[in-house]
Amino acid sequence: PQAFAEDTIELGSAISITGKYSQEGKNAKDGYDFAVKKINEKGGVKVGGKTYKIEVKYYDDESTPARTAQLLERLISQDGIKFVLGPYGSGPTKAAAPVTEKYKIPMVEAEGASRSLFSQGYKYIFAALSTSEQYLSPVVDLAAELAQKNGKSPSSIKIGMAFENDPFSLDVRSGVMDRVKHYKMKVVIDDKMPRDLSDISATLTKVKALKPDILLFSGHTKGALTATRQMSEMGVNAKIIAITHCESADLVGKFGKAAEGIMCPTQWAETLKYKDPLFGTAMDFNKAFLAAHPDYKEVPYQVAQASAAVEIWADALHRAGKLDKEAARNALAKTDLDTFYGHIKFAPDGRNLTKPMVLRQIQNGKYIVVAPTKYAADPVVYPRVAPQ
Amino acid sequence: MSDTIIEVRGVNKSFGGVVANKDISLTVERGSITGLIGPNGSGKTTLFNSIVGLYPIDSGSILFEGREISRMNVQSIARLGLLRTFQQTRIFSKMDCIQNMLVSLPHRQSAWSDMFRKYPPELCDKAEHLLEFVGLYSKRKLTAGSLSFGQQKLLEFAMALMNEPQALLLDEPTAGINPTLINGLIDRLKRANREYGITLFVIEHNMRVIMNLADHIYCMAFGQLLASGAPADVKDDPRVIDAYLGAAA
């Protein structure tokens, strides 16, 4: 049943408004809304000669996959949504994909990075972002490169890592493990953090004892905060320390010098040279968003990719020329779009292969892109110097 | 001579430093009504608790129908047909009187499958009959928790009868019951003893009750057995008078 006004296109999303991913969920939702506002301000989307405004119908999935699945059923079968924006997180997205697949409803998702999403033969899922195994594997490559530069064999490198026991972080881990095996590095610590743990001092004590060269953490915002704070409190350091979700945890704002030298993988950085007609350059997007949302100090990449997802939808619907889910899917599959977020072109399994992950390092309180080398703005500081 | 149904041999029980039962030996004859008296705190309730398996005893042995029961648990002992009532009345307070009676069915040979059977009408009749017997018929549909203290005591007694025990240990059955009703209760107890052949072992402080009820009395004091014998003898035993019946301090 078509319950909305004639000249709007309604997208639907189940997103984490409450529950443990509500921070990231909020980032994603703000990103969606920002893009929707921008598109509507510029007149909307032209589909088959008619201009439509975009609207998003949200439900709160409470950060639980089971709820996401139910809600998507509801969006599709009750609310008649034909175009879906993804939920936040790999778990919820994994739960969402079978539903959209079943109903043959295309979903553009920007917040579910798990590699396994794209190996099930799903045809209706399209991901704007890079998959999660690419989050921290560049760190391992970088470490190998630096070791070689210093005349050491990469296999002499000892790695310590602690990942939250959830689909996303475990995916990050398997990406890392692939590279580690490739270089024959030695993993000395391999802990999985329970989801409601707010103390990792036991793991850090092991770090003190075993002195790994590289330390890797992934545990969403809470994990980033806890790891950074406790490392500084316990005087833990390593040559390279890399943590996911630095930006949404606002490590610089919260810990200042203690966060110096930490490396943070990101899907996107405002210093990158991407641009599109809607938002302008990455830096323009950054400025515009911060102006609209003074409560943000940095723009987390979750925001940027969410906005990009809406942009992708607008583009695909425009090209499809009609508001039909099958046509939309086919248009999505043919997407070849430059955005402020990076280039978007989907592989047959729905992954976006054209946009790389980048690695930033906190230098003097700024996130500086240091790898891959071709994007690097500044050289990496290596080894990390323990902040005083 | 009639045979022994409960035999207590050299039972000792202490709680930390407090010796509650010290080398108690006594026997209860089958079919008799035996009384147990003694000052407050002399260990009567403790002895009952030990007999029915609530406390592990420190040493000694307890035989029921010739079978050692001092290592058995409460439920198995109850299923052997040795039942007790409580000094502080205990009934199933949110269930009505009839239901209280029905759960008190003997569980002696109940098999697993019995729990899925229904209650046959004979049993309901029997329950009502027993309630009438103790004078609670008109209250049969009230929740047991709303009965007065004395009524609860009567209900507990009826429940014990429903269970058809071999022997019944009663801990102060008449405390809090109206004196005239006590007469009735004694009558019921005697009839239960006579008609159903239930052996009774009764703790009482009310001499009127014990004198009119018991065939044989044991008196305890300070955790030890002090005297025993026919009611009249015990009543006049100077040691009993000294320890129990004597002048107020």
Binding site: Q23, D191, S201, L225, K254 | F86
Partner: protein
């Protein structure tokens, strides 16, 4: 796993680090558990919103911190505000569910927990927050063992509060009333104890304790609207394992769990920390049950 065990024997100094961490964690948990046990013992209300009141305390400190109040100083106003909050909650909700059966109060406070969480979420956003205490570290053995001053302060505060509570309960008139109410509210009422005030006071006192713990947590770890539950659960574990009305028990169990948690994290890996704790709880409960079978309470 055995490698990790080996570290502890070859470099025993790491035991010290684990112990220090365990104790400082345990101190805060003991505080929260103690408040829970107090309310549980006196009012028989099992407060599932315990952890959320802790978070609330943390957020209040955060708010004050943003207005330039040092978090350690903030403990006092936060405790006072939380005391008042406890009083209001008592009047509104707890008063009506007190002395009802176990689950009524459990559920009422669960409802309260949800409301607090969501209210915090609406007021402060879902963001994870933390307060910088501005205190430094102590470092021993050439940096192998570190402990922050704030953790030491937390330990000290917990000890001081525990002593104060014991003295209060034992010697003050109100303490006497609280103890009497805990043992037999009806009898206390008949002797002229205003049990309603006792309940209100106990609940508010607990809220104040939670508030203080929240301030410490905001300085030692992180706070977020939805993180209270973990603290509630841990507090319940401690109180359940130690048995009611048993302050030394609470402290001992909290310490034991804190230290064991550290060791299990070190030896088995972080993913087993939580499981170790709950399995230990089950073991304690079952062991106590076995002991209880032998010493059944007197049934008169």
């Amino acid at each position: 796993m055995f490698d990790n065990l080996q570290i502890l024997t070859t470099a025993p100094v790491f035991n010290l680090q684990l112990l220090l961490n365990g104790i400082s964690i345990a101190a805060i948990f003991a505080l929260i558990a103690y408040g829970l046990g107090l309310v549980w013992g006196v009012t028989s209300v099992k407060n599932l919103s315990q952890g959320d009141m802790v978070m609330m305390g943390g957020y209040l400190a955060y708010l004050l911190h943003n207005h330039g109040v040092h978090p350690i100083v903030a403990i006092v106003p936060v405790a006072i505000i939380m005391f008042a909050f406890g009083w209001i909650i008592y009047r509104l909700i707890i008063k009506r569910v007190i002395e009802l059966d176990l689950f009524t109060s459990l559920l009422a406070t669960f409802g309260l927990a949800i409301v607090i969480q969501q209210a915090l979420n609406l007021a402060f956003g879902p963001d994870v927050r933390t307060i910088k205490s501005g205190f430094g570290n102590y470092s021993f053995f050439d940096g192998t063992v570190d402990i922050t001053q704030i953790r030491l302060i937390a330990i000290g505060l917990c000890i001081a509060l525990a002593i104060a509570m014991v003295l209060f309960l034992r010697f003050s008139r109100m303490g006497q009333a609280i103890r009497a109410t805990a043992q037999d509210p009806r009898a206390a009422r008949v002797l002229g104890v205003d049990t309603d005030t006792v309940y209100a006071l106990t609940f508010s006192l607990n809220a104040a304790i939670c508030g203080a713990a929240g301030v410490l947590i905001a300085m030692v770890w992180v706070i977020a609207p939805f993180y209270g539950t973990a603290y509630s659960i841990r507090a319940f574990v401690i109180v359940t394992a130690s048995g009611l009305g048993n302050l030394p028990g609470v402290i001992f169990i909290a310490l034991a769990l804190g230290v064991i948690e550290q060791y299990s994290g070190f030896i088995l890996g972080a993913q087993f920390q939580q499981a170790t704790i709950v399995l230990l709880l089950l073991a304690i409960l079952i062991f106590r049950q076995l002991a209880l079978v032998r010493h059944r309470r007197a049934l008169q």
